[in-house]
């Protein structure tokens, strides 16, 4: 049964694009009505928008490699519900509290019912098995008061990647209602931790940003630290104590093989890719002095970017690749500095009381997140010119921030006093919605990937 939903193309793998097409917007939307269903985030603290997300029906229940399409419809709805709730900006009415939706109602919602639920917005959709083995997930967003359709998208995926279609649908809803960029269809690399405080076992791990599809990449035999995705997400750069020589490597996620980046005897650490993937910026300690260097991502001779006698480390590129923020104690205490990507023009930007470390430039370019050390350790943000410093958290030891792809959410790790146990947490850039990210073991050093294509 055709619903008039136009879409194109197939994705065949994890990093292949989930292609979708947005058909022309509905022509009957009254002027001004579009402004009624809007999540107000400008003010900083918003009241979450009630949004109804019923299960997604299927035109014909069909067995697939990922389960039958009726079951998938419920699971897709659940993934979308969790994504929107965890953003802190929505208060979803989940499928259990709602009347089931028939397939023919997906494009013709019974608005009086939806109004009665208290929802301001409504997400409907369907899951369909195509004859060629792929799935189609249809995704529709409605303004319940105005009784209009706000947007629609269709996604075609291999059954194994049904979660990506659900995240893409959630991103469609989220971006349409908030005006922010998408971030749900993304992954997190981090260091999974377990064991006693004086002998932690650390393993590299990756998972979807909602914790699903968790996978260990290393076996814990050597300490691994500070992983970072390449922009194309095919590799991860990180530091490892392989052979008791702490140095940076590039790990190929597909093959599971790691490659030494710079073959020389000094300790190299704190690696990060440039936004175009051509360079890795990193730190190298030579005889007690640590500086920032960059090297071609395919290997070669490092180019030294800083020469100060202090500890210069924690380098992070601006999203346009023209600048690098880093930390240095050349003034006597750890502070933030910004320089051009070639090392010229180094200027200090932090001047508040306390010490600043682990800077990361937002993918939006507007802010730099950092760890601030005073009495405790807290995560904060500052504009690249050093203005507008804002502290977002207040744990005993919160550190190591990483930005979501849309520059809206910051993931970090929080260490317990005494126990030394670390967990991943996230917080909205306005400081609200601080929440723990569930992981199978403990976790530290989170690195959020770019949006999957």
């Amino acid at each position: 049964m055709r619903l008039g939903l136009a879409f194109l193309f197939l994705s065949v793998g994890l990093t292949a694009p989930v292609l979708a097409q947005t058909p022309p917007p509905p022509s009957t939307a009254p002027a001004g009505e579009q402004g009624r269903v809007v999540v107000d985030i400008v003010g900083g603290i918003s009241s979450p928008m009630p949004i109804a997300i019923p299960n997604m029906p299927t035109p014909a229940n069909t067995a697939t490699a990922a389960g039958d399409t009726t079951a998938l419809g419920a699971r897709v709805s659940e993934v979308i519900t969790n994504d929107l709730r965890n953003s802190g900006l929505f208060s979803p009415l989940g499928a259990n509290a709602l009347r089931p939706v028939a397939y023919n109602q997906v494009t013709a919602p019974e608005f009086p019912y939806w109004v009665s639920t208290g929802a301001q917005a409504l997400v409907q959709g369907f899951v369909q098995a195509n004859g060629d083995g792929t799935l189609t997930v249809g995704c529709y967003l409605y303004d319940v008061f105005a009784q209009t359709e706000l947007t629609r998208q269709g996604f075609v995926v291999q059954p194994a990647f049904w979660r990506r279609a659900a995240h893409k649908c959630a991103d469609t809803i989220y971006t349409r209602l908030t005006g922010e960029g998408p971030y749900f269809d993304s992954r997190v690399a981090y260091v999974s931790e377990t064991g006693p405080k004086n002998n932690r076992t650390k393993r590299l791990a990756v998972m979807d940003q909602d914790g699903a599809n968790h996978r260990f990449l290393t076996n814990g035999q050597t300490i691994v630290l500070t992983p970072r995705f390449a922009p194309n997400q095919q590799t991860i750069t990180y530091m490892s104590y392989t052979n008791n020589r702490p140095r940076i490597y590039v790990y190929d996620i597909g093959s599971g093989k790691q490659r030494l980046v710079v073959d020389q005897p000094n300790m190299t650490f704190a690696p990060r890719f440039s936004p175009d993937g051509r360079y890795i910026v990193f730190s190298m300690a030579v005889g007690g002095n640590t500086d920032v260097y960059r090297v071609s991502a395919s290997g070669g001779s490092p180019q030294r970017l800083t020469t100060a006698p202090g500890i210069d480390t924690g380098a992070s590129y601006s999203p346009d690749g023209s600048k690098i923020v880093f930390e240095s104690d050349r003034s006597g205490t750890q502070q933030l500095y910004v320089m051009n990507a070639d090392g010229s023009g180094q200027n200090r930007i932090s001047f508040g009381g306390g010490r600043y470390a682990t800077p990361v430039w937002s993918p939006r370019g507007d802010l730099i997140a950092f760890t601030k050390m005073g009495g405790g350790f807290a995560v904060g943000t500052i504009a690249p010119d050093g203005s507008g410093e804002k502290i977002l958290t207040n744990g005993w030891q919160d550190e190591g921030p990483s930005w979501s792809p849309n520059g809206r959410v910051i993931m970090f790790f929080r260490t317990g006093q005494g126990s030394g146990k670390a967990d991943l947490w996230s917080v909205d850039l306005t400081g609200v919605n601080e929440r723990r990210i569930p992981t199978p073991l403990d976790g530290s050093d989170p690195a959020w990937s770019p949006l999957l294509p």
Partner: protein
């Protein structure tokens, strides 16, 4: 990695039994040539028991008294106590000229990950440079930083942190 960790724990246990690093050193036993002990058995035969092989880690800990020096917060400066320990380490290393060592630099947990790796490197090199200044060849002294990854003391208080801010001279077993 587990191999190194085991060695650290063994070294720590020996330090504890040999006396706290902060005590005054005991009178050193006489040099082997003047020793009234029976000559030690060849390393490959006889019980390990009470006999300490000259030039071994156990010998180092027994004669030097401490394999480590401690640092102040955020610092890599060697105070008087540290240089006294390193002086004795230098004497021992001069005596056993074939021994190469690894100097590990460590930090307490009250620092960020990358900075502590660099600070550990500073501390390891502070020890190394002092020993080189005492005439030990740099080629015998390799360094490694563990940042805050391998604390000695498990607490989250000043006493624990003070023990964790350290540079440890590791002699092969």
């Amino acid at each position: 990695m587990a191999h190194i960790s085991t060695k650290l724990i063994v070294a720590a246990a020996l330090v504890v039994t040999a006396g706290c690093a902060k005590k005054k050193p005991e009178v050193l036993p006489p040099a082997p040539a003047a020793s009234t002990e029976a000559p030690p058995p060849a390393p490959s035969t006889g019980p390990v028991g009470n006999t300490v092989v000259p030039g071994s880690r156990a010998d180092f800990l027994q004669k030097v008294g401490s394999d480590r020096v401690l640092f102040g917060t955020d610092s890599y400066e060697l105070d008087g106590e540290a240089t006294a320990i390193l002086d004795r380490q230098a004497q021992w290393l001069a005596q056993y000229a074939n021994v190469t060592v690894t100097i590990e630099g460590h930090c307490d947990e009250r620092g960020t990950r990358e900075y502590n790796l660099a600070l550990g490197d500073r501390r390891a090199n502070a020890s190394k440079n002092y020993l080189v200044g005492k005439g030990i060849s740099a080629s015998r002294l390799s360094t490694i930083s563990y940042g805050k990854e391998r604390p000695e003391a498990m607490g989250s208080d000043e006493a624990a942190w003070a023990q964790n801010r350290r540079a440890v001279t590791v002699v092969p077993n």
